[in-house]
Amino acid sequence: MAVLSLKRKLSILSDAAKYDASCASSGSSRRDSVGGSGVGSTEGMGICHAYAPDGRCISLLKILLTNFCVYDCAYCVNRVSSNTPRARFAVEEVVDLTLGFYKRNYIEGLFLSSGIIRSADYTMEEMVRVARTLREVHDFRGYIHLKLIPEASAGLVNDAALYADRLSINIELPRDESIASLAPEKDARQIRKAMGAVRLGIEEASEPARVAAPPKYAPAGQSTQMIVGADGALDGEILSRSAALYGAYGLRRVYYSAYSPIPDTTSRLPPARPPLAREHRLYQADWLMRFYGFEAGEIAASGENLDLEVDPKHAWALRHREAFPVDLNLADREQMLRVPGLGVAAVDRLIALRRQKRLRLEDVRRLSRGLKTSKAYIVVDDWRPTRLSDQADLRPPPQQLSLF
């Protein structure tokens, strides 16, 4: 095989990594390079160092160690049966690239994933070696996110957790049956078991120290990713799957990735891709579950899809007109959070302000961005929406479809 230049490898192996949605670099333990010999810090908040024209932030050097893979997952560009160009980094190459980029302030750290070569354990060991070299040889204190291979042995997972800030295992698809049919070498049960083991590890490490502090274990927690639109699961089913995952494994995030056309596709997949808006609505719905006190079933029942035209909170309000209008001078926080157009920050600012004065429409205009939406659902001293229940036009007006 021809020897590939480092630049060519970087191009192939970052191209292959772009289908991983996560790029968070936040929520880890605070540390810096004072008193050490290398570079790096994490100060709680993540930093996005650049944005690509797809609107996604670039925070980490997100690459695969290799895109050779023995698995044959239909939705993945790196499946063994695909004819995509292949490459493989040496451990030192990844380490040098990470440090070189980091010292020039291009990135917050490394997000390393990999195709499966030889065996799960062999691959996992190579990935751990990258993280260990960065931490131990170069005293690198930036952020490291390692993708776990569910079939890897427990000892390797422990090693990974020692060096990484965040671990993630992709749940891949919302239904176990679709994993079995589209990713024949993967096993939904094995994926869940691995997530369970990581949660136990995190909890053990965060128990109050009895003798000595326990070794740190993935201080930025674990996350997962689900591909949307590659199987028949509707949004309601996806959301209840996410809720179950949050509950069972204490995940920081579930990422949704709209199945997007990949180069060199296979006939096992649906020909049409889901609209990007669907992914966006799922993120909004996920946000509602995590920060707004909504239950999965309230947002979409299991046989339902989210409304693509209105955001899920607005859709809920349209279905529950009896809960409105909400008097912002009297309502409790939970009720206010359910008003379309009011976010968590706006609600908290309004609550702080109403301790000092009665709220007027002008206050809401200054403290929130969504007055246009929220106006129909709120009561303040100088404002009351009239005939809300009769208004049919609360939905945004339908848009003329354009000819393709």
């Binding site: 290398g38 004819n83 302030n105 056309p261």
Partner: protein, 476 residues
């Protein structure tokens, strides 16, 4: 009219001293002009020298932090606005809480812009390696939106402590020599290196990580405003990436699904011959463990992590049957490792029954639960779940061949005896089972955990230990 001359554009200490004196002198905001040394002075009035001295008044917590940030804003009115706020705070101590007041809102907006500028500086500074330097040295040219260089430099100091670096800006330059942070006057773009060999790699990465199928340039520009582009090595790629995106995405869609190579097809055929799963009654405990994990006799598998089969020696005189795995058991894949397990261990020790010689399992192998917010709360399995799962419990009984089986709680009793039993009435006695074994019913350890009354709890615990002791004796 009073004129205050501050030492520099970010002379917050000077502003503070002067403002303190002016407010003590009852100088109204409209009568004060703030200038920075070197700036022309419109009125040529007598300047007011800042006066030192103890402050004659206090300001609410939060005002100083806000003011310090606002002072870094490039707006010419910043010092005037801050003094007006300070003046108004004298009459309205709660002023800062009125987020909708125009002055407060303006100050908050300015503070937000400053903190955003500082954040963007952390993000968009791009260091270049200095060629032929004795030590590894990096230099960056950067144009911050506001005067945040001094305030942000410590961040780079903490992050790149063991590296020599300089950040040059038009206002001021920051230098770190691995020991001391120093500042010098503003510089020129030509003072920084013009290239860095690694930038070509960084651009390669930037171009490859971009997914042409999802073009969202507005989202990009919101977070990476154009004013920063000229100092970002990757930004020069953007026009071309945007222009060719649509064509590249269409090309991917147009592409016919490709056929895998012959080697891959042969390999797949070989694999599909192995590993088929046949269902027959399990003959070993390993088969029970593996089989229960695949079990679809009821729907509980769907939200559980794994089936939790029994744990213990392959032949045991005593078998304990619980209700179902809990949250911890579901994650760990072993029965009785959570809080109830600790109660059980303690009671077994008190009863003189060694857990290592006992086979411990559950009537239902998957965790039935309900989500309450983000927590999984135990939910009692139904008779349907119990009877669906009896296939596995019966297999374990057949293989382990215990002399005595203890059912912990009503659900377990239903699984072991096949009929509903009241625990309080049937406990503590030997009951004949069809398969030569004897059955004993007692409480479930988590029943003890839920009892609020300490007196009742210790009575039940004593009875529980008594039952275990009885069963162990019966089995010996």
């Amino acid at each position: 009219m009073r004129v205050v001359r501050l030492a520099s554009e970010i002379d917050f200490a000077g502003w503070r001293l002067a403002a303190r004196a002016l407010r003590s002198l009852q100088a109204a905001p409209d009568d004060v002009i703030w200038t920075v040394d070197g700036e022309g002075d419109l009125f040529g009035d007598e300047a007011t020298p800042p006066q030192a001295g103890p402050p004659a008044f206090t300001v609410p917590k939060g005002f100083l932090d806000l003011a310090q940030e606002v002072a870094l804003h490039r707006s010419g009115e910043r010092f005037t606005l801050l003094y007006r706020l300070l003046w108004r705070l004298g009459r309205q101590p709660e002023l800062l809480g009125l987020a909708s007041d125009p002055d407060v809102a303006r100050a908050r907006d300015m503070a937000k812009a400053v903190s955003r500028a500082s954040h963007k500086m952390k993000a968009f500074v791009r260091f270049r390696l200095v060629e032929d330097a004795a030590e590894e040295t990096y230099v960056a040219w950067f144009e911050p939106a506001h005067r945040v260089t001094e305030a942000t430099a410590p961040f780079f100091q903490r992050r790149f402590t063991n590296m020599c670096w300089s950040i040059l800006t038009p206002d001021v330059c920051a230098h770190w020599d691995r020991e001391k942070l120093t500042f010098s006057s503003g510089a020129d773009p030509a003072d920084a290196p013009g290239e860095d060999a690694l930038e070509e790699y960084w651009r390669t990465y930037y171009a490859s990580i971009f997914n042409p199928a999802r073009l969202k340039t507005a989202a990009m520009q919101r977070e990476m405003p154009k004013r920063y582009w000229r100092n970002l090595p990757e930004a020069r790629l953007i026009p071309e990436l945007v222009a060719t995106a649509e064509a590249r995405a269409e090309e991917m869609v147009r592409q016919q699904p490709s056929e895998p190579t012959r080697r891959v097809v042969r390999q797949a055929q070989r694999l599909s011959r192995d590993g088929s799963f046949e269902e027959g009654a399990p003959a070993t405990l390993e088969e029970v463990t593996a089989g229960a994990d695949f079990c679809r006799r009821c729907e509980l598998w769907r939200d559980a992590t794994q089936a939790v089969a029994g744990d213990g020696p392959g032949r045991a005189r005593l078998m304990l049957v619980g209700e179902q795995p809990g949250d911890q058991e579901d994650l760990a894949g072993k029965p009785f490792v959570g809080p109830a397990g600790r109660v059980l261990d303690e009671a077994l020790e008190a009863a003189g029954a060694p857990r290592a010689q006992i086979y411990v399992t559950n009537a239902v192998k998957h965790f039935r639960h309900e989500l309450h917010g983000k927590r999984r709360i135990h939910k009692t399995p139904t008779a349907g779940h119990v009877s669906a799962c009896r296939w596995w419990l019966d297999a374990e009984r057949r293989i382990v061949q215990p002399r005595v089986i203890v059912a912990l709680g009503a659900t377990a009793a239903l699984g072991v005896f096949g009929k509903a039993m009241a625990v309080g009435q049937s406990r503590g006695q030997a009951l004949q089972l069809p398969d030569q074994a004897q059955g004993v019913v007692t409480y479930h350890p988590s029943f003890l955990l839920r009892m609020p009354d300490a007196q009742a709890k210790s009575e039940v615990y004593a009875a529980f230990v008594e039952d275990l002791k009885f069963a162990w004796k019966l089995a010996s």
